[in-house]
């Protein structure tokens, strides 16, 4: 992998981190409403996955979706505008934090009902298979979602019909406030995948290169017709489930331990140790990210609200008179 790629991985992770930190501040100031689920600590997962995918591979995820949004190339200012509910947001201000999407970039959202997007992922893969396209559908979800009925229906039908899906379980150790030890019949999660006869692997989600490498290999196999495969990516979120989480379910010592060994720091150390780039270059990237985020916040704040008429737009493709 060339230097440019390393630096791009680094830049994307830093961009996500800074976007999330700024979003948290804006939320506390009341500029962002509703729920805000931050990806801080998990940046290596989405970054590695998207770096490995090809343009024809579809990606769909749950509500902790800002990371994927940045990785697929939605500009930070467009993500920020969506968070502030502005017309210039990727979902025109009508989706909010949990419903980012850009189908031009083959990113199918941002979904809020736990596990509900998994059957949809099976459907996307079905469409590609029937139309003889060689895209793989990458479906990301948390370990908590492996306990809900939708998970089982979705991975069952995908395996029964041999659909090109890569199931990526982001195990960040807590489904809201409940660990898989308390909620799941089996642990680790890959055991569930084995129950459905799928090849299943685990991945260190704090290592962006490990993620990228593994995903790349799995996608290649699926593209060859191996049928669906399962990844359990072990990761950790440094902040609460969402803003306002009192985090009574874990100790601050545990959190601190993970923060000290986080994905961005690790990657930075690796880059410097292997002599891939110098500290000044990394500093430059971080300064550029700072600027980009500042401009994104300004852009979002100055962007217009959607007009009143937007309330009634896009209910149907074929618009009807209001009832």
């Amino acid at each position: 992998m060339d230097k440019k790629s390393y630096l791009e991985l680094f830049r994307q992770m830093v961009l996500i981190r800074r976007l999330e930190e700024n979003a948290a501040e804006l939320y506390q100031k009341g500029a962002i409403g509703g729920f805000l689920h931050l990806y801080i600590g998990q940046e290596a997962v989405s970054t590695g996955i998207i770096a490995a995918r090809k343009a024809q591979d579809r990606v769909i995820t749950a509500y902790r979706d800002h990371g994927v949004a940045i990785n697929v190339g939605i500009p930070a200012k467009v993500v920020m505008a969506e968070l502030l509910g502005k017309e210039t947001g990727c979902s025109k201000g009508k989706g909010g934090s949990m419903h980012m999407a850009d189908i031009e970039k083959n990113f199918w959202g941002g979904h809020a009902i736990v596990g509900a997007h998994l059957p949809i992922a099976s459907g996307l893969a079905l469409a590609d298979k029937v139309q003889k396209k060689d895209g793989v559908t990458i479906c990301m979800f948390g370990e908590g979602a492996t306990n809900i009925g939708f998970f089982h229906e979705a991975i069952n039908i995908a395996k029964a019909w041999n659909l090109p899906v890569l199931w990526v379980c982001e195990n960040n150790r807590y489904g809201m406030g409940t660990s898989p030890e308390r909620a799941s019949a089996v642990s680790p999660i890959i055991q569930k995948a084995c129950g459905y006869g799928m090849p299943a692997y685990d991945v260190d989600g704090m290592n962006v290169l490990d993620v990228q490498q593994t995903v790349s290999e799995r996608l290649a196999e699926i593209r060859e017709g191996s049928g669906p495969q399962f990844l359990e990516v072990c990761t950790y979120r440094f902040r609460g489930h969402s803003m306002g989480d009192p985090e009574r379910y874990r100790s601050q010592e545990e959190v601190k331990k993970f923060i000290e060994n986080g994905p961005i720091d690790r990657f930075q150390k690796l880059i410097l140790k292997e002599g891939i780039a110098a500290q000044e270059e990394l500093d430059e990237i971080m300064a550029a990210v700072e600027k980009e985020i500042d401009e994104a916040v300004t852009f979002a704040k100055e962007s217009p609200e959607p007009p009143d008429e937007a309330l009634f737009e896009n209910i149907y493709v074929e618009e009807v008179e209001r009832g």
């Binding site: 579809r58 947001g89 990727c90 979902s91 025109k92 201000g93 009508k94 989706g95 419903h99 999407a101 850009d102 189908i103 199918w108 959202g109 941002g110 979904h111 009902i113 509900a116 997007h117 998994l118 059957p119 949809i120 992922a121 099976s122 459907g123 996307l124 893969a125 079905l126 469409a127 590609d128 029937v130 139309q131 559908t137 009925g149 939708f150 229906e153 979705a154 069952n156 039908i157 029964a160 019909w161 737009e313 896009n314 209910i315 149907y316 493709v317 074929e318 009807v320 008179e321 009832g323």
Partner: protein, 324 residues
């Protein structure tokens, strides 16, 4: 003009649309090898092949979810839920995903999806297999809900539904697949979102849909013998509602009866009555009557089941009551 059954009409609509557009495909339980538990898709598998007539596992959330995903991915799925009673298993995907994806993502995602499902009771199948919960599905903006009452409407509306780029919940009735009706030859497309006057009259407006259309027409014939002239208006689409012909009729007759097979409380009749009150209050000469199922889960015993379901006599009595 041919006279065919409801089953044939629906089957023809599916066949014609699948011939016309390669992207259209069917998925559901027992639609392929079995030919459909109501025989609607008999012969389809042999002709169209297993890629386009897909037997699914018993997994309604996966059926609807995968239908949504394949619609997003460029196909035009017609998903079948064996009965509407099983739709509850897929409730999230019907009303929380299909109805909302286009809106939530600012208009990016198109869902040219049809979910076909029969409902209704009267065959002693027990409470959980006999419901008419249509009103629930009509409650959600973003989902179109169509419920034809005649073979011609079933064919024309299903074809329009398949060609529509919006998600459509297409409700059939499980007990009237053998009902016969006149269906014009040739291409038949009926617009979604338009009510139809099935019978003209002057004294009372009967608003109805689905199976109750034929019941209302029978009631109207009986009432004619007693010199009462009933106008029967068939909603055909529950969402979006076409109130115009109903209001025009009501302004003429000043009396209305709404007949549906589902329960009274929070039902389709509640909505239609409320709208008539809102839009034609000054034309009201009597409170609007609602004919609906009694507020009970449907029992197995044949007599009791028929007592619970609305009958032609109930519609006749309601008309007489409203004219009293």
């Amino acid at each position: 003009m041919a006279v065919i059954t409801m089953r044939e009409a629906i089957s023809q609509a599916l066949w014609e649309e699948m011939e016309r557009d390669q992207k259209v495909f069917i998925m559901g339980e027992e639609v392929g090898v079995w030919g459909g538990t109501y025989a609607v898709t008999k012969g389809f598998l042999d002709h169209f092949g297993s890629e386009r007539v897909r037997d699914t596992p018993i997994a309604e959330a996966a059926i609807v979810g995968a239908a949504i995903g394949s619609a997003l991915g460029g196909l035009r799925p017609v998903a079948e839920l064996m009965t509407i009673n099983f739709a509850f298993v897929a409730m999230d995907h019907i009303v929380n995903e299909a109805a909302k994806l286009h809106y939530m993502f600012g208009g990016q995602m198109k869902l040219p999806l049809v979910i076909r499902t029969p409902g209704g009771g009267g065959r002693q199948l027990g409470a959980t297999h006999s419901q008419t919960p249509d009103a629930i599905f009509a409650h959600f903006p973003g989902l179109k809900v169509v419920a034809p009452g005649t073979p011609a409407d079933a064919k024309g509306l299903l074809k329009s539904a398949i060609r529509s780029d919006d998600p459509i919940f297409f409700i059939e009735n499980a007990t009237v697949y053998q009902q016969r009706g006149e269906v014009p030859e040739g291409e038949l497309l009926i617009p979604i979102g338009k009510s139809k006057i099935q019978r003209e009259g002057a004294d009372v407006t009967i608003v109805t849909y689905s199976k109750m259309v034929s019941y209302s027409l029978k009631a109207a014939a009986e009432l004619e013998k007693e010199d009462i002239s009933a106008e029967v208006i068939d909603l055909r689409t529950l969402r979006p509602l076409d109130l115009e012909p109903i209001i025009a009729s009501f302004k003429k007759t000043n009396h209305a009866v709404i007949a549906e097979e589902g329960w009274r409380s929070y039902g389709v009749g509640s909505e239609i009555a409320a709208r008539i009150y809102e839009q034609a209050f000054d034309y009201l000469d009597a409170p609007i009557q609602r004919v609906a199922q009694k507020e009970v889960p449907l029992p197995y015993n044949r007599r009791l089941e028929q007592m619970a379901l609305p009958q032609v006599a109930d519609i006749v009595n309601a008309v007489k009551e409203v004219l009293r």
